[in-house]
């Protein structure tokens, strides 16, 4: 028999494309629904933390220095005289319309505060993930390609250190060594004091704003300051990314199609990068996404150490002042970004992998 009897039954081309599109639309729909439900869950949890756990939620919001009049006004404003489900509904509506309440310590709307503090965190975490990916992926690939070598062992140790070194401690040690002793990097803060406030915020990210303003000196000063905290964050994402890359690569290198490539006489570098690495690019996106989300979380600790004016610092200050609206607002924003990154990398996986199409 010489016909293509063994090929897949080939459907009419239009039909095939249509089915693919419909499946993708379903995937996107399902994605939006889970995203919404997860976000609702997050709201339920923050609502629970803010209104149910504290014995006196009013006190938690206004603080114990409030007068009786302030207290009563807050109680009515919070709608605490109404039933719980109604309170929750109001809460959800408020959050979706951008109202996160007022911060007791700054006296401003929490939503405004957060939008001012977010860019600094975003800038640091993004630089951190760039460092983590740029170093972690090649290290993981090399470790797998030379399994058992000293380099492989060293990368394994780095990977485990990523799980056992406290981020805030690493930041402190980094400051003591690279700033106080060696003077290689700038100290806490985003800029030296005499540069502060010279650049008007456009994006809120100092590296970009200084370039936009054409202030090269300020740009380099900002680099000088951001490099240490971003490297500390980068270390943790490097450790995680290298560990996962190594494990994915080992899995691929033991696959039959890698042997096939070797049988064809393909050079080893091509075997490693084209045949073993290419198939793991998609799962790596998920890993990088998770790591990025993890860095947002890690920045809470790091920002305290480096006096970095980001969400993490805002959150810890609020925590110490028992400023509940600010705490819950920050939790909500970090949580939402976390969820979105998580779910988007999940969806990317399904869209990009030819096997999952």
């Amino acid at each position: 028999m010489t016909t293509d009897q063994s090929a897949l039954p080939s459907p009419a081309p239009g039909n095939f494309a249509g089915r693919r599109a419909r499946r993708r639309a379903m995937a996107v729909g399902g994605f939006l629904i889970t995203l919404f439900l997860t976000f609702l869950g997050l709201l339920a949890i923050t609502f629970f933390i803010g209104r149910v756990i504290p014995i006196d939620p009013v006190l938690a919001v206004v603080g114990d220095r409030a007068t009786q009049a302030q207290y009563d006004a807050a109680k009515i404003a919070m709608g605490l005289d109404r039933p719980l489900y109604e309170q929750f509904f109001t809460y959800v509506v408020n959050v979706f319309s951008g109202d996160l309440g007022r911060s007791v310590s700054t006296g401003r709307a929490v939503a405004d505060d957060l939008s001012r503090f977010f860019p600094a965190t975003f800038e640091m975490a993004t630089l951190g993930i760039l460092i983590g990916v740029a170093l972690g992926v090649p290290l993981g690939v090399t470790a797998a390609a030379r399994q058992g070598s000293w380099l492989d062992q060293a990368i394994r140790v780095v990977g485990l250190l990523g799980y056992s070194v406290p981020a805030f401690w690493l930041g402190l040690v980094g400051l003591a060594l690279f700033y106080a002793r060696l003077r290689w990097v700038g100290g806490p803060g985003r800029l030296d004091i005499f540069y502060d406030g010279l650049v008007s915020p456009v994006t809120g990210m100092i590296l970009i704003d200084s370039l936009l303003a054409g202030e090269i000196d300020i740009f380099w000063n900002a680099v000088w300051h951001i490099i240490l905290p971003a490297s500390v964050l980068g270390f943790f994402s490097l450790a995680y990314i290298a560990r996962m890359t190594r494990s994915f690569m080992l899995d691929q290198l033991s696959q039959e199609f890698v042997t096939t490539a070797r049988v064809k006489g393909v050079p080893e570098q091509v075997v490693i990068w084209r045949h073993a690495f290419n198939p793991i690019r998609v799962p790596l996106i998920t890993v990088i996404g998770l790591s990025y989300a993890g860095l947002l979380e890690g920045s809470v600790m790091i920002e305290t150490v480096f006096s970095w004016p980001g969400i993490g610092n805002y959150l810890t200050t609020a925590l110490l002042n028992a400023d509940m609206n600010a705490v819950l607002g920050s939790t909500l924003v970090i949580g939402a970004v976390f969820i979105v990154i998580n779910k988007v990398s999940d969806v990317l996986y399904r869209v990009l992998d030819p096997r999952a199409r």
Binding site: S6, A261, R262, G265, P354
Partner: protein
């Protein structure tokens, strides 16, 4: 015939385990001309390792030694990685067991076949394209343009294996090793795939080593047969004289084969005591 295509003398392959090195091939010798040689044995008899050691593809910590392992007079064990790459694919090629695993899942069929070709020959894009389509036609794929654009998970097992054959034969090697090329396929397409291999090998005057556990199949497609058991050759004979085989293992295998018009109620089980310790 001046020099044989392949000369193997006292080939040994070993792997370390908790209790010392274990040899999976224990002193294998044979020579191969431009003919079709079958290597038969049950799983674990070392036949696949033989195929891979000819390509020097046994990865560490596995170890290959031999008194002689020559391909057209070239000492394989003496070649470095770079020299081996010039041999692999271009001069000796191998078709592997299961196309589901041996084809790269994220490269299209066409890309994978093209890679086999351009690794060894500098050709223009159009020429590469034409060669791929010709090769796919040669393995009896009807609409090569469409198939070349598919991913491996979009084709069936039988077609996957034909793609594999196309990929391995496109640089026109002198020796093809087929390692259980049909055992992962449906019975209905097994013969078709073997016919294609047989046809192309004969037409291009190549050498073929067909590795299989299926004695009947090997005897049908090969000129000569080696029967392996536990890392050693226990029988070597011409395929058409298989019924005159002497070794109890071979006889046992033959006896265990069902025949049409069978009258036996039960097929005999191999009695391993007869050759144990050989």
């Amino acid at each position: 015939m001046s020099t044989p295509l392949l000369e193997v003398e006292n080939l040994r392959v070993s792997f370390p385990t908790h209790s010392g090195r274990v040899e999976v091939v224990k002193g294998l010798s044979f020579t191969l001309g431009r003919e079709r040689l079958g290597i038969v044995g049950e799983s674990g008899s070392g036949k696949s390792m033989t195929g891979r050691s000819i390509l020097k593809l046994i990865r560490k910590p596995g170890e290959v030694t031999a008194d002689k392992l020559r391909f057209e007079g070239i000492d394989i064990l003496d070649q470095n990685e770079k020299q081996m790459r010039a041999i692999r694919g271009a001069r000796i090629s191998m078709v592997m067991q299961d196309p589901k695993f041996s084809l790269n899942p994220v490269m299209t069929v066409g890309e994978q076949i093209a890679e086999a070709l351009v690794t060894h020959q500098k050709l223009g894009r159009k020429e590469v394209q034409q060669r791929i389509l010709d090769m796919l036609t040669a393995v009896r794929i009807n609409d090569p343009e469409r198939v070349a654009k598919l991913y491996p998970h979009e084709v069936s097992g039988g077609m996957g294996q034909r793609i594999m054959i196309a990929m391995m034969l496109i640089p026109e090697p002198e020796l093809l090793i087929a390692d259980e090329p049909t055992s992962a396929l449906d019975v209905s397409v097994q013969a078709q795939v073997l016919d294609i291999i047989d046809d192309l090998v004969t037409r291009k005057g190549m050498g073929l080593i067909l590795i299989s556990h299926d004695l009947a199949l090997v005897s049908r497609y090969c000129d000569r047969i080696l029967v392996m058991n536990a890392g050693r050759v226990v029988e070597e004979c011409a395929a058409r004289e298989l019924d005159k085989a002497q070794h109890p293992y071979t006889r046992g295998l033959l006896a265990a084969m069902p025949v049409i018009d069978e009258t036996r109620d039960e097929l005999p089980v191999l009695d391993r005591t007869q050759w144990a310790g050989t």
